[in-house]
Symmetry: C2
Amino acid sequence: MRDGRITPDEVVGVGVDFTSCTMLPAAADGTPLCLLDGFKNVPLAWPKLWKHHAAKEETDLMNEIALRRKEPWLARYGMTIGLEWFFPKLLETIRRAPQVAAAADVWLEAGDWLVWQLIDGPFPRCHSGEVVRSTCQAGYKALWNAATGYPPRAYFAEVHPELDVAVETKLTGTLMPPGNPAGKLTSDAARLFGLREGTPVSAAIIDAHAGVPGAGVASPSTMVLVMGTSACHMMNSRVEQLVPGVAGVVADGILPGYFGYETGQASVGDAFAWLVDTFKLSHAEMASRAAALPPGSGGVLALDWLNGCRTPLMDGRLSGAFVGVTLGTRPEQMYRALMEATAFGLRWIVDTLRDAGVPVRRFVASGGLPAKSPLLMQVYADVLNERIKLAESEQSVALGAAILGALAAGETATGHASMSQAIHAMARQREDVMYRPDLRARREYDRVYRLYRELAEKDGTVGRVMRELRSLPTERTQMQQEIIPEPVAGADTHPEDEDEV
Amino acid sequence: MRDGRITPDEVVGVGVDFTSCTMLPAAADGTPLCLLDGFKNVPLAWPKLWKHHAAKEETDLMNEIALRRKEPWLARYGMTIGLEWFFPKLLETIRRAPQVAAAADVWLEAGDWLVWQLIDGPFPRCHSGEVVRSTCQAGYKALWNAATGYPPRAYFAEVHPELDVAVETKLTGTLMPPGNPAGKLTSDAARLFGLREGTPVSAAIIDAHAGVPGAGVASPSTMVLVMGTSACHMMNSRVEQLVPGVAGVVADGILPGYFGYETGQASVGDAFAWLVDTFKLSHAEMASRAAALPPGSGGVLALDWLNGCRTPLMDGRLSGAFVGVTLGTRPEQMYRALMEATAFGLRWIVDTLRDAGVPVRRFVASGGLPAKSPLLMQVYADVLNERIKLAESEQSVALGAAILGALAAGETATGHASMSQAIHAMARQREDVMYRPDLRARREYDRVYRLYRELAEKDGTVGRVMRELRSLPTERTQMQQEIIPEPVAGADTHPEDEDEV
């Protein structure tokens, strides 16, 4: 407020974006269970961050039962419930910490929890009032749909009776699209943030989704690459297609009037950071050396699944790989190979959408990485054979949430009659920079992309091996702890005599 | 001599071992071509080290023609001429540096060149006398066989007319098995080394092969693991079987009276060194952390082909790989995974021999690595499910050459009537140490070995991708050298209007 030289009266609305599915159990008064004395030391009482990947068994079980029952809603999620989603995380707690599940009065997304805190006082503990849940979060992460609601009780009951009970009694509240006013800021919250009491608060939105309006994109068929530690590639379309492996197609999910497609890659910046930390070199040093390498990284090819593969394989048991390593391989080859692998992963996503009949016409990159890494953006332009613009704001996700806050304030306060008007008034793309594909690089990448796809094949050797590798022990237990080679004993002597020369 | 407190008269014979196929072109007087003024700056006039891997095209051509002609000798080499062998290297020079090929009077193994220098004066340039070539080197690396000699002229002529000429006129000399006296030490050589003039000099032997007598092994069915930067696994057998992918089966090739099998892995110590250099950690640090990991390296699996795969795939275009990498993967997991991969590679070799009906009953490890790395030896024992003894001498290759020098000196000088007697008199295995398989580790490794074999499958996805990766450019040429993203121009503007909200 101080830096922007604005007064509380000039803030006409509040928007909330949050990672998703980051979820938690709370008491009826909104207190997160992990803050209660009896639960402070129980890990499963704490919020589960989106990248919490422990609910593998639960995900498998839920998918298996949904497939067997031929649940029709599954097609909207590419026929796969994701490891990072709401119900596998809930079920994990029911199965592994039943005392936590029993004590929870409300299960909710962290974004919805924050909105709840802001609009229902006293802050930060509310004692009454209804939870307002975001249709964006529920639609993409909790299998919810405006027409049919959550999956049927019979499905949940077959998965686990307690899950059915939780869905019926602990997902209380109203569902509301982002941009609609969930309520008004309480006096406590207003004081805490230096805002005006009664300021309208929008229903929450998933952070990556907020990147679409925040990147100044109001049109369909423009893919917004929201790139940070992981990447979400969001797109609105007039076309509704159920695309295998695409994590969610939700009507009005991102912008009103369109089908919102969410696709993603579970490790992008995180993967580069892993490499830089592991090799003890700086990003700047690595990038400068990597930029001098040819497309194909001099013969090193990576699979970028260091945190599993989200779109299109939807398989958290997959992992990263480096192939083509020789005695002459240098760290920067592995670094560039990882960059190229994330580009190939994105191209695969785009190919998957186009093959299913969903047009993808334009690309806008936003988030921290694109502004920091011209090399990465050039690789993406070359691999995709597409021009890429950059969002003007490096904080396009926060800007997108602000646009939703403005919408929640209403036309009288802002003059914006529609989402599109608000977007064009508040966000845009940079005019000073556009990445264009290089013809020769593109041709080289066409070759390497084919090799990437061979390695990445859905039911191929590499994936099969990776899935089994994830089941190996990670700790040395009950094994001999030390190597103590003993002397040759009589019985051990090699029986050479019988074979003697 | 000084450290050993021995006099020249006590040295009754000289043995020569050398890496193979390390070969060079020489003038008729023995001068290596690279020492002549006109050739000093011509890379192909210099000796080619065994691990020179540039003759890929030539190897492919020679294999293709040999297969098409159904050349019967090819079966002795597992149906594949190796990339590291004599004739592909010779052909490479004929094709790529014809002036060098034309100027060469003699082409020979470096081991044979050294023997030539020792026995035909004046040292180090000899002016007369016949080259004595080792049947060991010729048998394993130059397609030679005691019964039939080199492959027929028609084969070489079809590969390249100049190759036929070279074989006919530039492979001059006598062929002689190691342990036989090639000649007597000249006065110049004796002075240089402080030895007695006239000391018998044995015909040369391939270094790894000398490791068999040097490890105190005189019996068949005992595999000697000669482990250093690369590994050769040598074995004598009463059984002659032509084993696909086994680099050579040569009668009397290692010990007289047996069929000598040479198998190998092209990078072992070299691969560990690559990893340690790349991650800037010490071997000691890596090994100590790696020892605390469970079998399977916590879910990381490597392919150990950082310098191609020798046995059993005989393919220098293959490369290394790491699969199962996650954001939590630590360098020591990759280090241990590489160790395990070399163990799996060895198990594959042993399985290949046994499947072909060649018994492998005992294991003796020698060379620098086994003494230095108890962890590596324990992994090998666990993966093979076999006991492993260590050669007493860490310099078993040199000791083996010395045993051959003693044999060349004859029974009168040494009292040894046979190779077996000489071996038992001069070399043995350590009594203080034997590695034994751990039951639980072995079971875990059985699982991971199956995964290794899936990845390593001869005509599998990974190998196919690796071979194509080797054909990618290694240098950035004619490509745009810098990334200069340009401003958005009029024509570049995303045509959003047509799609506007």
